[in-house]
């Protein structure tokens, strides 16, 4: 782990809560941490909670989207949860296309969605 964002393992699911501001270097380190943790644990599911993020710019959006695609290539389903209303509005206003990424309102709903996907 070279980042400072903890990744918890519960059963075959990884849960990570982004609680610090993601500057570019932290975002890149987070991506590496997530992928190496998937490899080590063989997790089937991943929930990324971004409810702590007040800002998601195009760089962070790209890292998050790419991380879910990379996880998918490794056989892991990802659900992105907790996006704040102002973050959602900002990304859509900018023209960010939210494609190929599963989302849920909060952690509880994200885990439920993941449970259905993994059945």
């Amino acid at each position: 782990m070279n980042g400072n964002i903890p990744i918890l393992k519960i059963g075959t699911t990884l849960i990570t809560t982004v609680h610090v501001e993601l500057d570019d270097a932290v975002a890149d380190a987070f991506q590496v941490d997530v992928l190496t943790t998937i490899e080590k644990t063989g997790a089937k599911g991943l929930v990324i909670d971004i409810s702590g993020l007040q800002i998601v710019d195009s760089y962070v959006a790209r890292v998050l989207t790419e991380t879910t695609r990379m996880a998918r290539l490794m056989g892991t389903h990802t659900v992105l949860v907790g996006m704040r209303p102002e973050v959602s509005a900002t990304l859509v206003t900018m023209g960010y296309a939210v494609e190929g990424i599963q989302t849920a309102l909060d952690l509880e709903r994200g885990l439920a969605l993941l449970g259905k996907r993994l059945q």
Partner: protein, 145 residues
Amino acid sequence: MGTLGASQNPTVVSQQELQITREDDVSVVRRAVRQVALARAFDAFASAAITTATSELTRNVWVHAGGGRAIISELMDGPRSGIRIEFIDKGPGIPNLERVLRGGFSTAGSLGLGLSGSQKLVDEFTIETATGSGTRVVITKWKPY
């Protein structure tokens, strides 16, 4: 270069200039703008919009020009309060500006939403660029009533 929707004569209440000399300065400038938005009691949406636009434009200065500066001003225009940020670099300029402003065009392997997206997030946006001598972008966001 036209100035769309510019206000007549706002008063500058405060001003700070920040140098952009390393990647970490993207966060530094972003935080400074967020502080001003909080001080001016911008709502979460307006605050996220101006802070995100700042993040994009500061990163542009760093990635494309290797550095520059940002001047953050608090404005009053009658009863309205606003934030204006000026991004100045002496980089290579943007030769294909129209293409870049349409969005989805990137030379840096990113989403290509930096300039076009920032423009959509603010109330006023002006850009002056000259190949070989640099770029100056000015954005303004007014506090919603």
